[in-house]
């Protein structure tokens, strides 16, 4: 097969070497590796390569090791002739990273594309290739200074056309050195001269530019301020340094919960607590004295305060008086706004929940998008080698532990791969399945037992009501619940030691599942107890206050038991382990996170009946942070098993959203729609349900006149009617289905592209082999000719050889 390979002349060879790299020359050096070649060809300043590794014997040996895989594998690079190597070293793909010109042209392309799509967001996670596109921009194979300068000028011009924020983002994301970025920035900040028309328009654009700069500076100042406020930077650094990303994820989750509570508390403080404190209603009875017990039970002198539902008035505050009450004079400031408290209570709580819901769903989907990718389960070896070293770890012993973990992980991966053929016998599999079923049954049985215990105890408490002077007995039910929540997980852990899972991640998920079921079922029973039974038995009293106080008690006792658990579980265990000579206990991330989720669920359940409960929860979280941190640093060691930190963060946030927040939202909706509020206290006394306050207001609007008639119309046809709900659900289902189809299509495209890359690779190897054979043939023919010349005319035998 005739194959003509046109080898372009590399201009750099013209000075010192012969034009054609395939021709023979006495001066041509022997290159045995790409590394040496690239060193010669790169145009940087004199580089002292002090600590570079010795010349790699690797590539040759590696080629031999890897070559038995594929049929068309490239032959050892050491076998290539120097000429071939020289050509290969100037391939476009080799210029990446070495040539600034390549990076600059790549970013030029990116900015052009960005500018053409005006309002598209930044290039998050698009993972564009660093290979300069030969089609879009005419890239020569060498990187002479002149070409680079041209590209640079073009890049600067394009950057100037971008809005300021995008420009900053683009500049920061470039893999250039800081000095070069500063030069680029200097050039882009220079205002464009002789481009804009003189006159008012130029003034306008300059003004706009100045405004944009000012806003940008303001944004930066705000960010700096926020970061100064962000507490615990050094604490988190220390924790991450000693224990790694997995334990750090627990503390970051705690921080997230704190943020959620702040979000929840602010509207409540502004619209409920603040207003009611400014216009205090008449006290419902004599105020009892403060004894220390109130901090635990939430009753006593806390009862008739802004802390609980019962304190809030059911009328309009700050109303300008219609006529002189009791014959007295009206207050002169009659021009102030009236404030309808029941409406405010309903809407503020609803809006706070809605905002929390949106934030949760957004952060959950964001987290999900970050951690789950198409094909993310493949490539375990590569991911272990490249992504498992946690660079945050700074202590020697923690670092050593990491080395051990990674070694174990690699060994396990290799063992798993080698064992893939081995299958368990039918008997063994049946035995394992039976064991798993038994353990699950036992765990569910324990859960059922705990539920029945809580139910029986609560019924017993209803039948024998607590006397007014024995308030401490109110703590009985929360105490029982907390004890069961403390003890049952240890039982679960003991049972889980019987079943031996292959994958440690599965173990964690199963443990999380079981604990979650226990906690949610217990809370469910308690909710039934409050809304189903307590409402009936507390008819003549303020049952909402009671429920609020119960939740307060549960929150406080939950915190106390968490302290107890830390003390005994971690400190006690460490003392015992040290006595026995074993290592420190591990920090149980799953159990601690579930406790956090449980506490947050309580806060969400109680918001309707106790608007200040999020504040209590915030104080609890703050104290918990310091206690857990101290205990961790003193008593625990990092988990031995590898832990997928980002997957677990996604799981935590999902658990927070689905059973926890959803349950609280259902509880809230049921309380608002179906339960009759008490007639003695609170903003909804006298109504049939809390929601009726809204309906009353809508009816009043209807009577008010035609100007606001759209709101009652919206209410009647969109909120009370069920048809729009069905329509919305159908629409949502259709959107989800379409998205699933799109993802399927993308998966197919990915596999096609992978095939294409593989084919291109084979083509490349084929061409390299051809190039190599052509050069060899030329060299051999050249060698034959010189031999002919050197040796005086030989016989026909020699001639035939050439």
């Amino acid at each position: 097969m005739a194959f003509v390979l046109h080898v372009p002349q590399a201009p750099e060879d013209q000075g010192s070497r012969e034009p054609s790299p395939c021709e023979e020359s006495e001066e041509s050096e022997l290159h045995f590796s790409f590394h040496q070649l690239i060193q010669e060809q790169s145009r940087g300043p004199g580089e002292d390569r002090l600590e570079l590794p010795p010349r790699a014997p690797g590539p040759g040996a590696a080629g031999a090791a890897a070559s038995h895989h594929q049929a068309l594998q490239a032959p050892e690079p050491a076998a290539h002739s120097p000429a071939t190597l020289r050509i290969l070293a100037s391939m476009p793909s080799r210029t990446i990273g070495r040539s600034r010109g390549a990076i600059i042209s790549q970013f030029y392309n990116r900015t052009v594309r960005l500018r053409r799509r005006d309002s598209r967001p930044a290039l998050r996670g698009l993972g564009r290739s660093a290979r300069p596109s030969l089609r879009l921009y005419d890239l020569e194979l060498d990187a002479t200074a002149l070409a680079e300068e041209e590209k640079r000028v073009l890049l600067v011009k394009e950057l100037q056309g971008l809005p300021l924020a995008q420009r900053g983002h683009m500049l920061r994301g470039m893999p250039l050195s800081l000095a070069e970025k500063r030069c680029l920035r200097e050039e882009t900040r220079a205002p464009r001269r002789s481009r804009g028309r003189p006159g008012p328009l130029a003034c306008c654009s300059r003004l706009r530019y100045a405004c944009a700069l000012a806003l940008h500076d303001l944004g930066l100042a705000l960010l700096a301020g926020l970061q100064a406020l962000a507490p615990w930077h050094y604490a988190l650094k220390r924790i991450g340094g000693q224990f790694g990303s997995s334990v750090l994820s627990y503390f970051l989750f705690l921080k997230t919960l704190l943020a959620f509570n702040v979000l929840l508390l602010l509207p409540l403080l502004a619209f409920l607590v603040g207003v009611q404190t400014a216009f205090p209603p008449a006290p419902r009875g004599p105020r009892p004295a403060f004894t220390g017990l109130e901090l635990l039970t939430g009753g006593g002198c806390f009862t008739d305060t802004v802390m609980y539902y019962g304190h809030y008035s059911n009328g309009t505050l700050n109303q300008p008086c219609a006529g002189p009450p009791d014959g007295g004079q009206c207050a002169p400031e009659a021009a102030s706004l009236p404030y309808n408290m029941p409406l405010a209570y309903l809407f503020t709580t609803g809006t706070a929940f809605f905002i929390t819901c949106l934030t949760l769903v957004y952060s959950m989907s964001h987290s999900f998008g970050e951690s789950y990718r198409v094909g993310s389960t493949l490539g375990a070896h590569a991911i272990t080698v490249f992504c498992s070293w946690d660079h945050k770890v700074t202590q020697k012993w923690a670092s050593r532990l990491q080395h051990d973990n990674i070694r174990t992980q690699l060994k396990e991966l290799l063992a798993e791969w080698q064992l893939q053929g081995g299958r368990q016998s039918l008997c063994g599999r049946l035995r394992r399945a039976a064991l798993l079923a038994l353990v699950w049954l036992l765990c569910l049985g324990i859960t059922l037992g705990c539920t029945v215990a809580v139910y029986t105890f609560s019924e017993h408490l209803i039948e024998s009501p607590v006397r007014a002077d024995r308030e401490a007995a109110l703590l009985a039910l929360p105490l029982v619940v907390c004890l069961l929540n403390l003890g049952a997980p240890y039982l679960f852990r003991g049972l889980a030691a019987l079943e031996r899972h292959d994958s440690p991640v599965l173990e964690v998920y199963v443990a999380v599942c079981r604990n979650l079921i226990l906690k949610m079922v217990t809370l469910g029973i308690l909710c039934y107890h409050w809304l189903g039974r307590r409402v009936a038995t507390l008819q003549g009293q303020c049952w909402e206050d009671f429920v609020g106080q119960e939740l307060y008690r549960l929150t406080v006792l939950d915190f106390l038991f968490a302290l107890l658990d830390t003390l005994c579980g971690e400190l006690g265990w460490r003392l015992i382990s040290e006595r026995l000579g074993r290592g420190k206990p591990e920090f149980d991330i799953a159990r601690n996170v579930l406790e956090l989720i449980h506490g947050q669920t309580l806060a969400w359940l109680g918001v309707l009946f106790s608007p200040l409960l999020p504040a209590v929860q915030m104080v609890k979280l703050l104290l918990l942070f310091y206690v857990k941190k101290t205990s961790l640093l003193a008593n625990c060691q990092a988990p031995r098993r590898p832990w997928l930190a980002s997957h677990m963060s996604t799981v935590f946030i999902s658990l927070l959203c689905f059973p926890s927040f959803l349950g609280a939202a259902i509880f809230l909706c049921y309380a608002v729609w179906q339960v009759k509020p008490s007639s003695l206290c609170g903003p909804f006394r006298g109504l049939d349900s809390m929601y009726e306050a809204g309906k009353v207001w809508v009816r009043r609007l209807e009577r008010a006149g035609p100007r606001v008639s759209w709101l009652p119309w919206v209410h009647r046809y969109l909120v009370e009617n069920t048809f729009p709900v069905y329509l919305l659900s159908a629409l949502l289902l259709a959107i989800i289905y379409l998205n699933i189809q799109v993802v399927k299509g993308q998966r197919e495209v990915i596999s096609l592209l992978k095939e294409q890359i593989s084919n291109e690779g084979e083509d490349k190897i084929f061409l390299i082999n051809k190039l190599h054979s052509v050069c060899e043939r030329k060299e051999r023919s050249g060698a034959g000719r010189t031999q002919e010349v050197a040796v005086p005319p030989a016989g026909p035998a020699d001639h035939r050889e050439a």
């Binding site: 080799r94 800081l178 200097e186």
Partner: protein
């Protein structure tokens, strides 16, 4: 607070702020960390842009880096001449890329350069073996190491040429959600 410091001019601080992921306060904090490494060498006045390089031996003793098996490569990649001796610009660049706010692409690019021990723009078998040896402190046998490297190439090499290019590496990083949290140094 920024007006009271005399180390940088206002414009210099703004430049640093725009070109890295740090705020003014963090840049000053980083500068003092840099200065602490070599108090005799690093002047307290950078308004005239002095050309000062802190040698690698001192950089390698920083508490954030001293137990990192890749510290030598990290310093080499970010230093100007590839020898590990870093100027203040290199120092800021290094911690900016390794900070929380750096995007995935940027981190993947530098991670690729770090793992490319022989600087030939490809991660070949030899580079992989070096990486695995450093990761496990030499406690895996040679056979296990080469087995692991083969598996890695099987999984990540798209065009089957026996080595990983930057695209292969980035493709693999996309599938590793943990990368952003592990390739992170908190300073």
């Amino acid at each position: 607070m920024g007006n009271k410091q005399t180390v940088f001019t206002h414009e210099q601080l703004e430049e640093y702020q725009d070109c890295t992921f740090f705020t003014r306060k963090e840049i000053m904090r980083l500068f003092y960390r840099y200065q602490d490494l070599a108090p005799q060498l690093v002047p307290l006045d950078y308004t005239s842009c002095p050309d000062v390089k802190v040698p690698y031996e001192l950089i390698g003793t920083m508490p954030e880096l001293k137990d990192n098996p890749f510290r030598q490569r990290i310093a080499q990649v970010f230093s100007e001449d590839g020898d590990g001796h870093m100027t203040l610009d290199n120092f800021l660049d290094m911690f900016s890329v390794m900070s929380e706010m750096a995007p995935r692409d940027l981190k993947a690019y530098y991670a690729f350069k770090i793992y490319d021990f022989n600087n030939d723009d490809y991660i070949c078998m030899w580079d992989l073996e070096q990486t695995v040896t450093k990761l496990t402190r030499g406690e895996l046998s040679a056979e296990e190491v080469s087995l692991v490297c083969e598996k890695v190439l099987d999984e990540a090499d798209g065009d089957h040429d026996g080595r990983l290019s930057l695209e292969d590496f980035q493709n693999m990083i996309l599938r590793a959600p943990d990368f952003l949290s592990t390739f992170h140094i908190r300073i």
